[in-house]
């Protein structure tokens, strides 16, 4: 298996602030689901922003063996913590079709593919609606559909279960398990990560304090307590 994402000695701090990430290093291999677990304020979202180059951090991030750039980012999809950030087109169908049309596909063909993705996520009946009229769970699924449309090789999800009810979390876990892409999922929902991520790393105050199989890491009460997760 090839590494899809390699992070080495990543450090980040906001202007005149405390360090948010310190010496963060890890790898995500092709086809695996890597869970990043940490309590609120541990630095999970900041780490994901740094991976995509949206925040400038020191250290090295390599996507598909290359430096983060336009080419490598074109192969990555990201589902933001707040789905409202990602859905801004007049209809959900347009939101999902946007990356395809922008890459040069005919709008009709792009809309057909977008419809397929929406069907996969059970949103085909809501395709013509504005995102503002969807529930939070539906919006989250619409965001995933929009990210899946251009067939990314790496999908990054930031707190995908935040604000979702139990049924929606189960549906989401089932859906992610079916996907044939490398996944990086940040969450503080341990049950959700136990279901989907065989490999997890624990982030605490900007440092990785554990990196290993979920069966060991997420069943270690002392470790979870030290990371303020229990």
């Amino acid at each position: 298996m090839k590494p899809v994402l390699t992070v080495t000695d990543l450090n980040f701090s906001f202007e005149r602030g405390q360090p948010v990430l310190q010496q963060v290093s890890f790898q995500a291999m092709e086809g695996e689901c890597l869970g990043i677990v940490g309590c609120n304020g541990a630095g999970k979202s900041t780490l994901l922003w740094c991976l995509l180059g949206l925040l400038k951090a020191s250290g090295s991030v390599r996507l598909f063996g290359e430096k983060v750039g336009k080419e490598s980012l074109a192969r990555v999809g990201m589902v933001f913590q707040n789905p409202e950030d990602q859905l801004f087109m007049p209809t959900v169908l347009d939101d999902v079709a946007l990356p395809l049309v922008n890459r040069g596909m005919q709008p009709l063909r792009a809309r057909a593919i977008a419809m397929e993705k929406l069907r996969l996520l059970g949103l085909d009946k809501l395709a013509g609606r504005s995102a503002a009229r969807l529930s939070i769970g539906e919006r989250k699924r619409a965001c995933i559909a929009a990210c899946l449309a251009p067939s990314p090789e790496l999908l990054i999800l930031d707190e995908p279960t935040a604000e979702l009810d139990g049924r929606s979390v189960r549906l989401l876990a089932g859906l992610l398990a079916q996907l044939d892409v490398t996944l990086v999922v940040s969450s503080h929902d341990l049950d959700f990560l136990r279901r989907i991520a065989p490999h997890v790393l624990v982030l605490c105050e900007g440092r990785i304090i554990a990196d290993g199989p979920a069966s060991e890491v997420l069943h270690d009460p002392a470790l979870l307590r030290s990371a303020n997760l229990e």
């Binding site: 950030d85 859905l87 801004f88 990356p99 890459r103």
Partner: protein, 194 residues
């Protein structure tokens, strides 16, 4: 010697405290002036103030870009209406530079300390804190929406690039309205909005 140093530091302190208020007063004066020479003269001075507050000309210029874009659009709309008047654009830029510089230089801790029952500037301080809070919310929302759009747009001039930018900006206005309503409701519950 010690007394002199104290007096100097007190004067410097007073100056640092006064500068943002002078800038805000200048912004208010600029909003109401109709003298074109005043406006033209105020523009470079206000840009300079902003650049000093941001400690970089390039950072100041980058921050100005969205406002300059909006000013340009408004001027073009006026042109479409057979009216060419640069007053609005000039005022927008000048007021933006002055207020942004004032907001950078204001000592917010002191503003917060001014909120006490019966204090003379309590309401003004509260108002400034609300404005600051809302400006930070809007800045955060704009940052996230525009980055989310960048994530799906691979060709900046490709199909739907401008359409998506337009939709993103419209969504930003709608979200700003929703946030403002929620913010107002929260203040109303605290008894602060009357």
């Amino acid at each position: 010697m010690v007394f002199r140093a104290c007096r100097e530091s007190r004067a410097a302190d007073l100056l640092i405290f006064a500068v943002p208020w002078i800038l805000l007063a200048a912004a208010l004066a600029l909003a109401f002036t109709r003298n074109p020479f005043c406006m033209v003269g105020a523009l470079p001075v206000s840009f300079l103030c902003h650049a000093v507050a941001r400690r970089s000309v390039s950072r100041s210029a980058r921050a100005t870009l969205p406002v300059a874009g909006l000013a340009l659009i408004l001027t073009l709309l006026q042109l479409l209406n057979h009216r060419f008047d640069l007053t609005l654009a000039a005022k927008m830029l000048g007021i933006f530079w002055l207020t942004a510089a004032a907001f950078h230089l204001l000592r917010w801790q002191r503003v917060a300390e001014a909120i006490r029952p019966g204090a003379p500037f309590s309401k003004l301080a509260l108002f400034l804190l609300f404005i600051r809070h809302f400006a930070l919310i809007l800045a955060g929302e704009s940052w996230r929406v525009l980055h989310a759009r960048e994530r799906v747009i691979y060709k900046p001039y490709g199909k739907w690039a401008f359409r998506s930018l337009n939709s993103a900006l419209v969504s930003l206005f709608l979200r700003a309205m929703i946030r403002a309503e929620r913010f107002y409701a929260a203040q109303l519950l605290k008894g602060l909005a009357q």
